[in-house]
Amino acid sequence: MPSPKPAVVHPHLRPNTLGLTVRDYEGAPSTLCAGCGHDSVTAAIVRAFYELERPPHMIAKLSGIGCSSKTPTYFVGGAHGFNSAHGRMPSIATGANAANRSLTYLGISGDGDSLSIGVGQLVHAIRRNLDMLYVIENNGVYGLTKGQFSASADIGTKSKRGEANQYSPIDPVSLALELGASFVARAFSGDKGQLVPILKAGLSHKGFALIDVISPCVTFNDHEGSTKSYLNTRKRMLPVISTDFVAADFVPHAAEITTEYAPGSAVSVKLHDGSTVRLRKLAEDYDTGSRQSAADEVERHRSKGEVPTGLFFVDTNSRDMHDISGTTEVPLSQVPYQKLCPGSAALDELQKSFR
């Protein structure tokens, strides 16, 4: 019988200022495999929303199809969920966002959902700088259909049956950087300490935030020879930037100020909603404000077989789809009909030109 996962570990169930505890941000029990990386991501999302103190019903959680895409059922039960069709979540999110810009949009997808059937929609959601957090739970395989290679499978990685992938992988991070995403990060489901602040930053960012989360599939891609197994990921993963998040209206508690900073290497970036991310870089010369510098840094490590993680790039002044289209601030779904209908007089007037 499925035990209620994720088990969220938390010292005491302290309610946030909305009076909600972590439990209030959980969802239905997970039906994923015990140990699936996706459940850890779910737990981190629960934690992030709880700490950001978002009212659940102001959250829209959308997904495509896949084990990863099932997870919205497992977090924030009080949010509006939409488990759509395979690879089509970006377009559904675009329409939803067009209709109501006042909600928080979180899209959950998988590497199959986003890089194969859905890559076209992902590419164009990025171009529009759609205001949403887009999380790819990346395990290098199609989990729900039992373990075929996905487009993120590394060259040489072995399937459970032992065949090696030989097609060059798509790295969502490099792709997003190339296409102009305004917030690009990578994390590992096994490292909650890193994942939670990045999620919070992504949720607080205005514009398209992409987080590629390496999230191992214990059932079909956690064996020896797999480059996306827990073991191999732990070995290769390298935090080139460590991220620390401080919410706008937030007194950091003990746990979070202890992190020591090597003076000079730390940068503070103020996000649209007033909160701040503190970034600590591994390489001195790397400029987190420069797309090209980020791309180079990622490529430099990737070419060494490492899996660079962290918040690589953030542009806090980018204009989202609505800025570009000049949409009114009022959610379109709430603009009264009277404001939308020109009325009979205008119609008569207009028709004078139809003669």
Binding site: P90, S91, S325, T328, L340
Partner: protein, 605 residues
């Protein structure tokens, strides 16, 4: 010659043969508009190729004092401006008719006809004499033949002047060029031909309360007035101008007076799969949203249309049909997507369809589409076509009832939710078999999970047969319930009709003309035009009341007949088809010939 002496006032047809991209469109438009302003019923059909410049294109103008606007198949006067199609064009002039050609070059004797009057006008020479710029020399030839027509057809020069004034009020130079060219063509005609021709115009007042409008503009107007705020689309002929118009209209009427911001959001999607996804996302989130496309787009939208059907999300899809299958003939008309839309997507699905017959109905049915989509929480298709959508039609002035309020269907507000103990998405259902929905962000109690996977009547995920079936059965009932809600068919009843005719959409003008013509021959038919699917009681009654019913439609596979056969109780044997699907608009002759031929057959049994 004697034939020519029969004077035919306000009742004739012209064919203008041009090369596309040479500026003939504006001259031909002016011609049509001028006749309209003279108060005379007129229709224009633009038969253009699927490229941008250099291929044959035709424009047909029919003048009919009795108001017949369907395509005429024989032409009293042909303006032959395209050497490439000259041979073909000469053939199409009716015996006793006339042909106007550019006499700057000698005429190929082989192509002359004894029963046709050839009117040579040295258009190129004239324009070369008047203008220096080479582009202008080409463009103005069109205005020059317009001038000739003014003389030949006795068009009111005042009206033409007025039109040019309006058109070029800001471009004096252009206006003058136009005047010069027009004059040249006019004067030449007066000097060289006996004007006017027996086919001629005379002012009427038949268009006083009417407008000239194309269906796509009317559809866009309907969406504007229905309160659509989100539109997502991908360019495709012949649907593109729906969104072009919507964009222009929004720019004009949807800027917020206070903030100057847009009370709309139009997204040019990366393809049709994304466009329908955006519409579904926006509707799910409470906006009135729509997309416009053509056949290929419908095919691509299939999967997500099934999602909207099963998850019960409103969506308005305008399909401006063109000739299929596949890419087919993108600039030709057809009614070939009826079945593709009615049963779109895999699995058991059925959708609501609306069939506008003219721009006026494009306007009203676009509005109806949103009300139906939200009332029944399901996709609704507006099936227009290229003929309706891209040609200018003379229509009664559009009316708008300021008392109209959108029917948003069953949507629970914060207050209602506050009162509830618990909200379930798919129950309880009302008499339409529709359950209430909620919108994200409105109230914490309203949250629910939308999914295209198996769900029970509470909205929970299920793989239990009975629970799954319960929802599917309700969806079937819901679709049936819509029969009473779609616009009623229009019945043209006669006394002692021998049979019935059922048709839809753009076939209407041709069928009405045919019914009248048949009546003159003593062949009496009742005519019912369906405006929507599922079919209501009126359709059943009409079918029950007639022993034999001819179904007239513009596709090869009798798609409307199929729908009538499957979705009414009528025995299929009584339904016979008249099918025209070559890609050009329907003419009454097609209908008359189709029906009389079958009647003859039936007798010789």
């Amino acid at each position: 010659m004697h034939q020519r002496q029969v004077i035919r006032t306000n009742d004739f047809a012209l064919k203008l043969a041009n090369v596309n991209g040479t500026g003939s469109a504006s001259a031909n438009g002016l011609l049509m508009q001028a006749i309209f302003r003279m108060g005379i019923p007129v229709s224009g059909k633009n038969l253009f190729p699927s490229n941008i410049q250099g291929l044959p294109t035709w424009y047909e103008v029919r003048v009919s004092k009795s108001g017949h606007t369907a395509r005429a198949l024989d032409y009293d006067l042909c303006i032959a401006m395209n050497a490439e199609t000259y041979a073909r064009d000469v053939k199409e002039v009716r015996s006793g008719g006339a042909l106007l050609y550019d006499s700057s070059w000698p005429l190929d004797a082989a192509l002359s006809r004894p029963d046709v009057t050839f009117l040579g006008v040295p258009l190129a020479r004239m324009c070369n004499a008047i203008f220096t710029d080479s582009r202008e020399r080409i463009l103005m030839k069109n205005i020059a033949y317009l001038g000739t027509l003014v003389a030949l057809l006795d068009i009111d020069m005042g009206v033409i002047d007025e039109l040019l004034e309006e058109k070029f009020s800001k471009k004096k130079a252009l206006r003058d060029s136009n005047h010069k060219a027009l004059r040249a063509g006019y004067d030449f005609a007066i000097e060289n031909f006996e004007c006017p021709l027996p086919i001629r115009l005379e002012k009427m007042h038949a268009t006083d309360d009417r407008i000239l409008i194309d269906g796509n503009t009317a559809t866009a107007l309907g969406c504007l007035y229905a309160g659509a705020t989100v539109a997502a689309w991908y360019p495709i002929t012949p649907a593109t101008s729906v969104m072009d118009s919507f964009k222009e209209l929004c720019a004009e009427y949807r800027k917020d007076p206070e903030t100057g911001k847009n009370n709309y959001c139009i997204v040019q999607a990366e393809d049709e799969l994304a466009a329908i996804g955006m519409v579904i996302g926006a509707s799910w989130n409470g906006a009135r949203a729509f997309t416009s496309t053509a056949g290929p787009g419908i095919s691509l939208m299939g999967e997500l249309i099934g999602l909207a059907y099963y998850a019960e999300i409103p969506a308005v899809i305008v399909d401006v049909q063109r000739t299929g299958p596949s890419t087919g003939m993108p600039t030709r008309t057809q009614q070939g997507d009826i079945l593709a839309c009615a049963y779109a997507s895999h699995g058991d699905t059925k959708h609501i369809l609306l069939f506008p017959a003219n721009p006026g109905e494009c306007f009203t049915l676009a509005v109806a589409a949103f009300d139906l989509a939200e009332r029944f929480q399901t996709p609704v298709f507006v099936l227009s076509d290229l003929d309706i959508g891209m040609n200018d039609w003379v229509c009664p002035r559009l009316k708008w009832d300021d008392g109209y309020r959108p029917n948003r269907g069953r949507v629970l507000g914060a207050a209602e939710l506050e009162k509830m103990t618990k909200f379930f998405r798919y129950s309880p259902e009302n008499e339409d078999h529709v359950a209430a929905r909620t919108l994200p962000g409105v109230h914490s109690k309203g949250a629910f999970f939308t999914r295209g996977s198996g769900h029970n009547k509470l909205g929970g995920y299920t793989e239990v047969p009975d629970e799954y079936q319960e929802v599917m059965d309700r969806l079937a009932k819901k679709h049936k319930a819509a029969a009473a809600a779609v616009p009623a068919p229009i019945l043209h009843k006669q006394v002692d009709a021998a049979f019935g005719i059922i048709s839809l959409g753009g076939c209407d003008p041709a069928v009405r003309e045919a019914v009248a013509a048949l009546a003159e021959r003593g062949i009496i038919a009742d005519y019912l035009r369906v405006l929507g699917f599922p079919f209501g009681a009126e359709v059943e009654a009409f079918l029950a009341a007639h022993e034999r019913v001819f179904v007239v439609e513009q596709n090869r596979d009798a798609q409307l007949r199929t729908l009538l056969t499957m979705e009414t109780s009528a025995p299929k044997e009584k339904l016979r088809s008249v099918l025209v699907y070559g890609g050009f608009p329907l003419s009454s002759r097609h209908v008359i010939d189709g029906i009389t031929a079958q009647l003859a057959q039936l007798e010789h049994r």
